[in-house]
Symmetry: C2
């Protein structure tokens, strides 16, 4: 599932979503899968990376602010956001950032 | 160890470090602790968040590009970067981004 995203040359945008979950699933995994299927079809979506241990960090990458806004307002995603607040999360922070530089390393 | 960082009002910078590790520790945990102790003392460092399952994601937050550059060039950190490439990582991507918006949620 989770890998390192292949993104185009900057500039583009990143949404850093850091969260603490409550105990128990309560439909979280199912919704999570649904949201992944849905975000992959969004115009302007470039990729995402996700990991969880004590905190969960999901970084999604976007062409521009408009596509981030459209995803935030998407109907099913709105429902997921509501359930997130009422059921799944103790707390979260969302940071929207403009990626200015990218570089990397690959072992031979 | 890992929590949600408390950061000031934007703008500030984020360094998103996403990695795939090789099998085995080879001094990684020890160096990781050393780097955390060291980064906490860096001028301009604002906080960090970290999680690992299939990929590792560490996001560090910084006052400005100059403090990111100073940390990149710090001597012990340079050694860690070299060991990272020769021993610990299969691959990684680093993205430097300017945080423009931040918001969050806290359950009652």
């Amino acid at each position: 599932m989770s890998n390192i995203a292949k993104t185009p040359s900057p500039p583009y945008y990143a949404v850093i979503f850091t969260s603490k979950r409550k105990e128990g699933d309560f439909g979280y995994e199912q919704m999570s899968k649904k949201m992944v299927e849905s975000v992959l079809k969004q115009d302007g979506f470039l990729g995402f990376e996700s990991a969880r241990d004590e905190v969960g960090i999901t970084v999604s990458y976007w062409r521009d602010m408009e596509s981030i806004k459209r995803w935030k307002d998407e109907m099913e995603h709105q429902k997921a956001q509501e359930l997130g607040k009422s059921i799944w999360y103790k707390r979260y922070r969302i940071r929207v950032a403009k990626v200015e530089k990218e570089y990397g390393f690959e072992a031979k």
